[in-house]
């Protein structure tokens, strides 16, 4: 205890403290400075071996809990789970320096992470079950987003089509033009997703789904302008909209339609079509961030997830197909009412993935989307 009474801070001291707080908070924004690329040696592949608990980062409910339990029991490690609700959120966490052993980016984001040097390389010869993917689904042996799949292993694949209520409007013609159908007028939703909506317009006009060309985008925007007065809204909650009757027709992801099968009392009143002009394809993949604390356990986890019995469990739990040889029937059985949910080799060959564009192209797409959405 000091003999002198403690002196209270003066007004100036208070201001100084405030300024320090300000600087500290501004420093936290240094994530917005050009980041240093991690050095290449740190990104070398590691063999599968237990090197700690698994720090897992994924969409919520995207793996069967029984599979986690099995993994924990077999290798004597814990799975420490956290979830993201958007790709942007996931990458923001990674950029902020949070450390995860395994993450699940979509193709487009995988490419960004690979280009940014944020992913550790994966040696497929370390994975005993890798041949079930790369041997059969050759598309993934050298995908556009990660040459040679050097940093990623595909997890799920899905496509975009039209979900509709058979009981309300009967059969469709198998085209994206069905969205303009008078029978559905005022009860049509589009996904609240820039790429999907612009891509749907592009497919009808025979343009590239990821086009960033100003003239292409003007044509797409004016085509979609004719659909806008017939729309009820932009919503990615397709299956609830179909179930509760707000929508008689909606642009929908195949995975959501499969998930709806569990919710619907009578699935035969619903339909899902993959339009003939083409259906956008997307996929999620396994990836190990550059700063993963336990990359060895992550490798073990990927291999464990690729075991056919675990793939089947996951397919049944989440309703998304996985490009693993020998599991196709499991998925086909699951989505029997909606056979067009299947993602075939031909679908992959059509290669209608949404690609990353340059800054100018992204800005042009963004402006077009604002005009489509806000009218």
């Amino acid at each position: 205890m000091s003999p002198a009474p403690p002196t209270p801070p003066t007004r100036r001291a208070l201001l100084r403290a405030g300024a320090c707080g300000l600087l500290g908070a501004a420093a936290a924004g240094c994530g917005f400075m050009p980041a240093q690329r991690p050095d290449a040696g740190a990104l070398a592949p590691v063999p599968p071996r237990v090197d700690g608990d698994l720090v897992y980062f994924n969409w919520a409910d995207y793996v069967d809990p029984a599979v986690f339990k099995g993994f924990e029991k077999e290798y004597g490690v814990r799975v420490v789970q956290s979830n993201f609700d958007s790709m942007e959120g996931m990458v923001a966490k990674l950029n902020a320096g949070n450390r995860y052993d395994i993450v699940f980016p979509t193709a487009k984001w995988a490419q960004r992470l690979v280009r940014g040097g944020r992913l550790r390389r994966i040696d497929h010869s370390h994975l005993t079950n890798a041949h079930a993917i790369f041997g059969t689904y050759t598309y993934f042996a050298d995908p556009w987003y990660d040459p040679g799949s050097a940093h990623t292993v595909p997890f799920t694949a899905y496509k975009t089509g039209i979900g509709w209520r058979r009981d309300r409007i009967g059969e469709l013609t198998g085209s994206w033009k069905d969205l303009w159908s008078d029978k559905a007028r005022g009860k049509v939703f589009l996904l609240d997703d820039r790429d999907e909506v612009l891509g749907m317009g592009a497919l009808q006009l025979g343009l590239d789904v990821s086009t960033g060309d100003g003239r292409d985008l003007d044509r797409i925007a004016s085509l979609l302008g004719t659909l806008r007065p017939r729309l009820r809204g932009f919503s990615s909650d397709s299956y609830n909209n179909l179930l509760n009757g707000n929508a008689v027709m909606t642009q929908a992801w195949s995975g959501d339609m499969a998930a709806m099968l569990n919710q619907a009392k009578d699935p035969s009143v619903f339909g899902f079509q993959a339009p003939k002009e083409g259906t956008p394809i997307n996929s999620d993949c396994y990836a190990i961030p550059w700063n993963a604390p336990h990359p060895g356990t992550a490798m073990l986890f990927i291999d464990y997830m690729l075991r056919p019995e675990n793939v089947k469990k996951n397919i049944e739990y989440i309703g998304y197909p996985m490009p693993v040889a020998g599991t196709e029937k499991t998925y086909a059985d699951l989505v029997r009412p909606f056979p067009e949910c299947l993602v075939t080799q031909d679908d992959l060959k059509a290669d209608l993935f949404f690609r990353n564009g340059g800054r100018a192209a992204e800005d042009a797409r963004d402006t077009a989307w604002t005009h489509v959405k806000a009218g």
């Binding site: 300024a19 707080g21 500290g24 501004a26 924004g29 280009r115 009820r232 800005d363 009218g375």
Partner: protein, 299 residues
Amino acid sequence: MALLRPSSRSRRRKADSGGNRMWIWFMLPGTLWMTGFLIASLILVAVLAVGTTDELGNPRFGFDLTGVRALADPAYTEVLVRSLGYALLTCLICLLIAYPVAYTIALHGGRYKNALIAAIVVPFFANYLVRMYGWSVVLSDDGPVLRALRAIGLADGDTKILNTGVGVIAGLVYGFVVFMIIPLYAALERLDVSLIEAGRDLYGGPVRTFLFVTLPATRQGAAAGLVLVFLPAMGDFVSAQLMGGPDQIMIGNLIQDKFFQGQNWPLGSALTMLLMLVLLVGMFGYLRRTRKDEAEARR
């Protein structure tokens, strides 16, 4: 109240001169919190409004006016004006709903006052998003409300509540009405009932007494409520997202889009600054009004 003012002020002055600097310590946490999380993040948004994006879509510091220039697009003005209209309408409806509620509870609630206020506040403990999601299910085309209305012949197959302007404003009113009730209740609770009696004694009818005695005395509560409702309503995106259609998009939805799907943080930040500017003008009006009120009260 006016009578109390001078004495409380002189007492405060005495405490200061007595060397009691407690207030500094009391202010410290608040000051740090506000500088750290509010002012610093505002500065960050302002700086990012003229920033750039790298090839990964990450925002970067820099100087580039593309985002600011994009604000000239008439689509943003249109949506901003619509949001302003929705927010003002929400304020008005909230005031009309909240005043009678607060009045009844404050002046006629008796010993149930606290219970009644609790009954109003408790539902708001549940997350706004969850409640709105619930409403979107209840009000859906095959939901219980429309099914009941159809059964008794008050609605036909084409009637809809969701995805309309009415739906969005109803959502905003439902979401924020409690911010109007509480300050009005506080103002009415403080109101000296003998003022009303005096008004009646001076031959004022119930309407005249209400208009010239009760209403002016609770003006500050209403003003506080209007600000508390207007600010969140103007920036809201949940109601338009869940209850609105393509023609009900609000500025909050566009800002959210820029930060997420568009990965265009500079434009998102510029839009945020524009919204802040509009709100600041409103706040400035409010502050001038209350200062004038205070000056009047002191006289």
